[in-house]
């Protein structure tokens, strides 16, 4: 059972990383325009370069 000493904190640390990532994405406004984000991914305006539009 000694394995728990480092397995459990590791699991918690991974969970906390996920939480931190979510809070960061919330703060940076990634959920402000949910419908728009779904559509923007389809446009290729950002491809750029001489070949792109």
């Amino acid at each position: 059972m000694n394995v728990l000493i480092y397995l459990v904190p590791m699991a918690l640390a991974l969970g906390l990383t996920g939480l931190a990532a979510f809070l960061w994405s919330l703060r940076s406004g990634q959920y402000d325009d949910i419908e728009g984000a779904a559509l923007r991914v389809l446009s290729d305006d950002d491809v750029g370069g001489p070949g792109g539009r």
Binding site: M1, L4, V8, A11, L12, G15, L16, G18, L19, F22, L23, L26, Y31, D32, D33, I34, E35, G36, L39, R40, L42, S43, D45
Partner: protein, 719 residues
């Protein structure tokens, strides 16, 4: 006359860049994003342009020395989108912040609930687990649960504290108490190496409840964004004299003393006095009167009236100068203060529930002590009772239905202004309608369109597209193709003419078209003549009923509601409408005070009245009624006092609102009973001392899921 547009009131300035928020019309597809943003970024000086597709709003920033706000709007119009300057309301930004906070709390609670459950499941299933390992897991749970609950529980703790300080009870009081006692007892139990800890139940409870809150809030924000956009689309512009120059300004920027020009076809943008010019104005949005009123210098005009024939110059007057609006405001204030506050179903349940639960817990302590248990055991059992009765299902019971029902109403074209409108709508037993603009369409229509030669009518309608006159607008609405004829000329106050296929066509007053006046139609009806190539048509323009008014009236009666019309229009204009809808109970020629009196009389009989109205004169009656609805075309002040606004030309949303609200009410009650039933089963188990953490967790999530699933039935199509 070149006229500049002044949008300075909407533009925000920071360090050399200007910022403008716009509500954009016609954004429908993925391409629009690239078109709008790309098109704007090509303008010299634009720093940033970002379209929010979810709420159809555009934020533009540009260098002030290179561009003006008007250029941005003009550029958008060139690409094919109409944009309206928009001032984000304070309430809306506050709600956005609150939403973000709720989601943060939700994320923290979710993280904590998942990880603690991971540990708890190991404890529950690990029968061969040693005591040290169990204690380690419990301490770990405490380490996660205590800070998480302290953060994620804030929405409940704050609201509960506010309620207690106001010496009231709401649902958050038993929730907070349950969470805090559960956590406190678990810490004590863990310290004494006991077997049971309730960290998982406490965090899971917070997680479920926060889900409900966040969804409720998201729904409210969505409707508010749509309502805000509609308000921006509707906002009126005024032509103001700055010296001798004419400037177009938003009506919201007008001040008392401003001199304005009101052209034919324009709405009067503010209350004021006519300085010169003479015209006929249509007061139907103000008083409900459909016959037009002649005005000349010195006459009072009200915001919302439509100028028909002549150009007027007017001066804006301040409130408090004895105008109609002052009387309306005074009545409004009285009606709002006289209104008894509606106690929401959930709060009523909480008032019954909290004392019963807390008394049960106290009795449990006493009972176990009398039965000879130790003080520790008695208290632990009592706390288990508090935890298991913590009103998770009860709190979700009403909220979940509320979310689903407001979504259903939103899809039916009804936008809720107030949170408890659904509950109040479900209680009504009488509906009072205003006539003008509510039962009838807000703008006049060609009433005899069906009897006219279709080909002639289409030509008349296309010719009408070239005129700004309000009556021409009614004719133009019949046009199937919105293609105006080339080289049409308008004779102000008379009509329009154009050459069609080599012969002259005229649309306008009978005299203008060389026709001896056809038999004079009654007041409120205008006769327009169209002549072309020797053929002529007489068009009768008047207020017509909404297309489904009769059907809706019948459906409302079938729901067991009594219908009534209270109109500010002449009685002889109300009578035919009442007859067409089969409403026997009607009154005409009422002042705003008389409308309130009529509603108060109904209230005195114990009736709960839904008032549907749009005019400025209806605003006090709307505030006095139990619940109120107004069409989107209503006067601004009136709309602000309505509990909900409905979109479109049809009256059907009124019926829809009542049926959805009634269904929602039934489901709320059902859910409350489900929650009570759950408690009836769970409480004896807890009192007997069998409520292990596993049972508590299962019962709590089971009942929450059950009421949420039941709430989803509020979506359903048929009632």
């Amino acid at each position: 006359m070149a006229e500049t547009l002044d949008l300075s009131m909407f533009v925000q300035h920071r360090e050399g860049t200007a910022h403008l928020d716009l509500a954009v019309e016609g954004v429908a597809c993925a391409n629009c994003i690239g078109k709008i943003e790309g098109g704007l970024k090509r303008l010299p000086g634009v720093v940033a342009a970002r379209l929010n597709f979810t709420n159809r709003r555009l934020a533009v920033e540009w260098r002030e020395d290179m561009l003006a706000a008007v250029d941005v709007i003009a550029a958008l119009e060139d690409i094919g989108y109409r944009a309206y300057p928009f001032q984000p309301e304070r309430a809306e930004t506050q709600e956005a912040q609150h939403m973000r906070w709720l989601v943060k709390c939700l994320a923290v609670a979710g993280f904590a609930a998942m990880n603690i459950m991971l540990l708890s499941v190991s404890v529950w299933s690990g029968s061969d687990m040693g005591q040290e390992t169990r204690d380690f897991f419990h301490w770990l749970s405490a380490l996660i649960a205590l800070p998480a609950a302290a953060y994620a529980g804030q929405p409940f703790f704050r609201s509960a504290w506010a309620a207690i300080r106001a010496r009231a009870l709401n649902m958050d009081v038993p929730i907070s108490l349950g969470v805090i006692t559960a956590l406190g007892m678990s810490v004590v139990e863990t310290a004494s190496h006991a077997q049971h800890a309730y960290f998982d139940s406490a965090t899971m409870l917070l997680f479920f409840l926060l889900c409900g809150r966040a969804l409720d809030h998201a729904m409210r924000r969505k409707t508010r964004a749509v309502a805000g956009n509609l308000a921006a689309l509707k906002a009126e512009f005024a032509h103001r004299f700055d010296g001798f120059e004419l400037v177009r300004v938003p009506a919201a920027a007008l001040r008392a003393g401003d001199r304005l020009l009101v052209r034919p076809g324009d709405r009067v943008p503010a209350d004021g006095v006519v300085l010169n010019g003479s015209s006929e104005i249509d007061d139907s949005l103000v008083t409900g009167e459909t016959a037009r009123r002649a005005v000349a210098a010195g006459a009072l005009v009200h915001a919302g009236a439509v100028n028909f024939s002549g150009t007027l110059t007017m001066r804006v007057t301040a409130a408090g100068s004895g105008t109609l609006i002052d009387e309306v405001e005074r009545l409004l204030e009285k009606a709002v203060t006289a209104k008894s506050r509606h106690v929401r179903l959930a709060d009523r349940a909480a008032r019954l529930y909290a004392p019963v639960v807390h008394a049960t817990a106290a009795l449990t302590v006493v009972g176990w002590l009398v039965a000879g248990a130790s003080v520790h055991d008695a208290i632990v059992t009592a706390i288990a009772v508090l935890i298991i009765t913590c009103p998770c299902a009860l709190a979700l019971a009403v909220q979940a239905v509320q979310v689903v029902a407001s979504g259903a109403l939103f899809r039916a074209g009804v936008i809720l202004n107030s949170g408890d409108a659904i509950e109040r709508l479900s209680e009504i037993d009488a509906v009072v309608f205003d006539k003008t603009g509510t039962l009838t369409l807000p703008e006049p229509r060609v009433d005899n369109a069906a009897t006219l030669d279709p080909e002639l009518l289409q030509r008349a309608a296309r010719l009408a597209l070239s005129s700004r006159h309000p009556l021409a607008a009614a004719v133009a609405r019949e046009a199937r193709e919105r293609v105006p004829f080339a080289a049409a000329t308008e004779e102000p106050g008379q009509g329009v003419r154009a050459m069609i296929d080599g012969t002259e066509a005229r649309l306008g007053s009978p005299a203008f078209c060389g026709l001896a006046t056809a038999d004079p139609a009654g007041p409120g009806t205008s006769t327009i003549v169209f002549t072309h190539a020797g053929r002529s048509a007489v068009l009768l323009v008047r207020q017509t009923l909404r297309p489904d008014a009769a059907e809706t009236a019948a459906a409302l009666r079938a729901l067991g509601l009594d219908l009534m019309i209270l109109s500010g229009d002449r009685p002889d204009a109300v009578a035919p409408v009442a007859a067409a809808l089969g409403i026997a109970d009607w009154r005409g020629g009422l002042t705003p005070a008389e409308k309130i009196a009529a509603i108060d009389a109904l209230k005195a009989q114990g009736r709960r009245v839904l008032m549907v109205g749009d005019g400025l004169n209806d605003a006090p009656a709307l505030a006095a009624a139990h619940v109120s609805l107004s069409p989107i075309s209503a006067a601004d002040l009136t709309q602000a006092h309505a509990d909900a606004v409905f979109l479109g030309e049809r009256l059907g949303p009124v019926r829809e609102a009542v049926t959805v609200a009634r269904r929602a009410r039934r489901l709320m009650r059902e859910n409350l009973w489900l929650a009570v039933l759950y408690n009836a089963v769970a409480v004896p188990v807890a009192i007997a001392g069998f409520a292990t953490p596993l049972i508590a967790a299962a019962a709590m999530s089971g009942s929450s899921v059950l009421v949420t699933l039941n709430a989803l039935r509020a979506r359903g199509g048929a009632a």
